[in-house]
Structures are given as structure tokens and as C-alpha cells.
Amino acid sequence: MTVNDKLDNKFGGASVPASQLDSSFAPPVDASCRVPLLVLFGGAALWLVVSSLLALAASLTFHMPDKFGDCSWGTYGHLQPAADDALLYGFCIPAGLGVALWIFARLGRTPLRGALVPVVAAHLWHLGVLVGLVGIFVGDSTGFAWLEFPRGGSALLFFAYLLIGLWALMNFSGRPAGAMFPSHWFLVAALFLFPWIYSTANILIVGWPVRGVVQAVIAWWFGNNLIFLWTSLVGLGAAFYFLPKFSGRPLQTYFYALFAFWTLFFFGSLRGVPSGAPVPAWLPTLGNLNSMLLIVPVIVIAIIGWKTVVGAAGPEGKDSSYSMIRFGFVAFVLSALLQVAMSCPQFARLTQFTWFGVAQTQLQLYGFFAITMFGAIHYILPRAVGIEFAFPKLIRVQQGCAMLGLIILVASLAAGGVAQGLKLNDPNVAFADSSKAMLMFLRASTTGLLLLLLASLLFALNIFAMIMAWHWSLVRAVFAAVVAPLPKTEVKA
């Protein structure tokens, strides 16, 4: 019995009707994704650790402003964007691409062909992130949030994404007729979304900048489409694949998923300009309107999750991947509800210019997306490589650290943001005092970041151990082939 059989039996394939229980296609499909996934996830794990370290250092600058102040690269303005970009471009996107590649191959029952191209592209992607981060630290940042990478890094990212996306789409189009599942819509939309928004924003802001206030409007549009819409599409695509798989119930229902997809895509892509933005009134009004209408897909998505998961038998025993993907799903609903709340002008007046927005972004990027990806990667990688994780018990610890750290981080920043906003809006409180009110909450958030760093290290430990075990298995296979006794037929000759 192979590792794949053992792992798949654990879930009993319960979500699939008995007629479709044939899972003989799975091992060759998983194996075909092996090397691209190892490169994508390995690099992602590395950048996740880098991001956690940088985020912790950036947070420490609030308690110890002089600690890293002697060198320009150690200032908050370098550390924080580098930490954000390392999380988004270093971890989230390659992890999402890897999960999408695998889900396409599995759902389409089609092995990935020409795996060399995504392997090369994944290396290019990680090189692009390296170039971008170095660019930020030497002072080449473009100065636009989420677009800080200088041109060279952005160009590498763009072409690497095109290659991986193209290969995923080729695999998708090679699926047998009729094999279409709601996850497909979300993931295909995300594959097309990134090249469009990334090239538009880079051309109009960095390459040949448009004039004046339009730059800010494009930067907001891009930030929302990447941080909210792209991560939602990929994360939900993955969740809609894994939740039914674990719970043993069909996705509830095809229609709800279809409705959620179109409303999420339509309302989600037209927002971004914040409520109090100093631009002509129709822009923030349009953004607020679409943010409020997000309540429709959020309700529908929550119903899908509820009906698919609650009360279902689930896998035998506790499964860490299942817990993480459920946690991520709840985090998505909360994060989207916060978006809806922040679009109400009355609430926006309280939270604008405070840490509240940062809390929401962290909930979306880490609480929803990264934790969903942890669950998915922990599920996929042992099957793709054919080797179990070296430290399976640490996965539970990693899960605990990630969830607890995230809750502390988001809760402290959100509560601090409200406290700060109340003081900012009180004309009797000096501006400096309203900023000082954040200090206690920032200390708490540093604790959260410390736990997240631990979670990143544990995640990377298991991934790196698996990569080494895979290399070792290759060496052993070559060695075995070399020392194997010659077959008798050849001895005779």
C-alpha cells in the first residue's frame, strides 16, 4: 500500500458517489505535479519565514525606535513594505499557484505535462521576489503600496506568472469533457485576473505614469483586486475543493457557488477607493456601494460553508488540514464583513487613518489565505512527493501557533484601531496622544507576530525536510541503480 493509498483511505473518498470511487488516476496525477510543487512551495516557505522576520522587526521599531535606525534599510519604511510584499508575492501567490496547478490536475484527472516549464517559471518567480525585496532595501521602492517592487522584479514576476498560468490552463483545457467543478471557475478567473491588474498597474503607475490623482486611484484599484479579489478567488476555489472532500458531503450547492462567483467577481472588482478619499465623490461612492453589496456573496458563501461542513461526518480523527481550511473559511467571512462595515461612511470616519485597515488586511491575507494554503499544502505535498512529513506532530503545533498568533495580531490591531479612531475624532485630544494610545495594542500585536514567526519556522521545517528527503530518495535511487547486480542476460554477453 503506497502513501497515497493510505492517505486517501483515511478520507474514504466519501464525497464521491460509489460509481466514481475509482481513484487509480490520482497517483500519476499527483506525481506529475511533484517537482513544480516542491519548487513553488519550497520558495514560498522560505519567503514566509523572511516575511515573518521582517514583520516582527518592523513591529519592534514601535517599541524600540532606535534599534535599527542607524542603517536606512532597517527603518520601518523599508521593513514593513518588504514584509508585506514577501508575504503576498513570496508566499501567497506561489502557494496559490501551486495549489491551483494541483487542483486542476486532480479535478481534470489529467497529469501535468511538460512540468519543466512551471519549474523554470517558479524559479523565475522566486528570483523576481528576491530582486524586488533587494530593490526595496536599497531604496528602489516605487512608493505605491503593494507595488513597491522595482521594474526588474515586477517584469520577472509577470512573465513567471504567465508561464505557470498558461501551463495550468493547458492542463485545464485537457480535462475530459464535462469534468467541471465550481473550484474551476474561481481558479481560472484568478489566473486571468493577476496578469491583467498587475500589468495595468505597473504600466500606468511605474512604467509610464499617468498624471496626478489617477495614480492613487489605480493603486487603490490594484491593491483591492489583488489583496481581496485574487486571494478570495484562489482561497475559495481551494476551500470549495477541500471542504466537500473532507466533510464527505457534496458541495452545497452548485447554484449557490455559481451565484457567489459572479457576485463576488462583479462587486469585488469595482471597489478599492476608500470612503474618505480626496477624489471626486463618485469614486468613493462607487467603492462604498460595491463593498456594501459584497454582503450578497458573503451570505451565500457562508451558507455554502455551513451546509457543506456543519453536521457532516468528516474525516476519521482530527485532521489538521481540515481544521485549517475551516478556520480560513471563517476568517474569510469575517474579513469580508469587516470590508462591508468599513464601507459605511459612519464607521469609516472612525477607522480611517487608523490600524483598523491593517487588521482587516492581515485577516484576509494571513487569517484566510495563508492558513487555507497551509491546510492545502499539508494535504497535497505528501501525496505529490510520495513521502510523509518528517514531523507530523509539529503540524498541530504549527496550526495552533498560526491561529493563535493571527487572532492576537488581528484582535489587538482592530481594537487599537477603534481606540485610536475615537481619540482622533475627539478635538480635545492631541494628535500625538491619539497615536500613543496605540502603543499598548502594538505591543500585543508584536506577541502575535512572534507566534506567527514560530508558525512560519515550523511550516518551513516540514517543507524543507520533505525537499531534503526527496533529494535523498533521488540519490538513493541513483545509487541503487549503479550498484545493482547486472541482469544475467548481460553477464552472459
Binding site: S15, V16, P17, S19, Q20, R106, L107, R109, P176, A177, G178, A179, M180, F181, P182, S183, Y241, P244, K245, P250, L251, Q252, T253, Y254, F255, Y256, A257, F259, T263, G276, A277, P278, V279, P280, A281, W282, P284, T285, L286, N288, L289, M292, L293, I295, V296, I299, V300, K307
Partner: protein, 199 residues
């Protein structure tokens, strides 16, 4: 909850429930879309590039604009000042070191008459000049020569009545008369030439 329908195409790895679409979801969406349209109608200014929050539309913005009289003249003067003079003399009228003297509290600005003051933008000024006890040695081009009588009068009134200055207003007719009195004189004035004129 309905049972999974067997209509899922063979070959799919997972299946999704294909039960019928509930009606409430369309009702909810359409209701929210209607409310959203009302919200947009009330707050967007219908894509007018001049309407900013918290104003809701062009008519509301218009209602806050001064219609006539002193307020209108002040708005006109302020607009001209910020376009023409403010760059050097500062939006706060405090001037800039080494670039332009202050207008707030300057004896040239708050003099009882406006004759000397009006000559400065009309002809420009050159050489030594003392402003509020401080010596300056700079040149200023005839920045006001191309302004209309009404604009120049408004901006002079604006600097004579802003930032704590409390001098009388200047009318367009005053400027018209001063312009007529220039004759063919087009050279920048010196401090002495100005002092030789009536206030």
C-alpha cells in the same frame, strides 16, 4: 437539504449538489441593488469631476458658492492671489525668506491709500525696499499687468483685508484710473519713485 443529484458528469473528481435555486437570493440581491442605486444617486454627484465628498452634487456645491457682494469679491481675490501671488508671497501672506517679503502687516499693503500699492503689480519693482523694518533687495515683474481691472482690484482688496490686515477695499474703477494715469511708463518702479507718489 436535498440529496445529491446523480447528474454530475462522469469523470469529475468531486460533485456538487444540483438542487434548485432558491428565490429569496434574487429578491435580496435586487432589493440591495435598488437601495444601492438610491445611495449612488444621492451621494455620487453623477460623475461630476468637481464634486468632492462631503458634497453630494453640483447643485449643493453651487449653493455654497458666494453669489455677489463682498463674499464674491473675496472669493475672486483669493482665487487670483493663489494663482498669481501666493507662490512667492505664500498662501498665508507671510512671504518667503530671500524670495518675497510678507504682505501681512506690510506698511505698503495696509497704507491708507492704495495708489502706491497698485503700482507695484502694474509695473513691477526693483532695487532696495524696506518692508516692516526689514531691508529687501529684489525684483518683482509686473505680475498684475495682464490681470483685468476687476481681478486686480479683487486681489488687492484680498491682501488688504486678509491675515489681520484691515485696510480699505480697492474697486475696479480705481484700477482703471491708475492704469490710465500710467501713460507710457512701463519700467519697474523703485522704492524712491513709489515714495514720491501720493499714497
Amino acid at each position: 437539504m436535498s440529496e445529491p443529484a446523480p447528474s454530475t458528469p462522469a469523470g469529475a473528481e468531486l460533485v456538487s449538489d444540483r438542487s434548485q435555486s432558491p428565490m429569496w437570493i434574487f429578491v435580496l440581491t435586487l432589493t440591495l441593488l435598488y437601495l444601492g442605486a438610491v445611495y449612488f444617486d444621492r451621494h455620487s454627484g453623477w460623475f461630476d469631476k468637481d464634486v468632492y465628498s462631503p458634497y453630494a452634487n453640483a447643485a449643493m456645491l453651487e449653493s455654497y458658492q458666494p453669489k455677489s457682494g463682498a463674499a464674491m469679491a473675496a472669493a475672486q481675490g483669493r482665487r487670483v492671489y493663489e494663482q498669481v501671488c501666493g507662490l512667492c508671497h505664500g498662501a498665508d501672506g507671510l512671504g518667503k525668506p530671500g524670495q518675497a517679503p510678507a504682505l501681512a502687516g506690510s506698511e505698503w499693503v495696509i497704507a491708507a491709500g492704495h495708489n502706491r500699492l497698485a503700482h507695484i503689480p502694474l509695473l513691477g519693482i526693483n532695487g532696495q525696499i524696506s518692508v516692516a523694518g526689514k531691508g529687501w533687495n529684489l525684483g518683482m515683474a509686473a505680475m498684475g499687468a495682464s490681470l483685468s481691472d476687476s481681478d486686480l482690484a479683487a486681489v488687492l482688496t484680498y491682501i488688504r483685508t486678509s491675515w489681520g490686515n484691515q485696510a480699505g477695499e480697492v474697486t475696479a474703477d480705481d484700477i482703471k484710473n491708475i492704469r490710465a494715469g500710467l501713460g507710457g511708463h512701463l519700467q519697474p518702479m523703485s522704492s524712491d519713485q513709489l515714495l514720491a507718489m501720493p499714497e
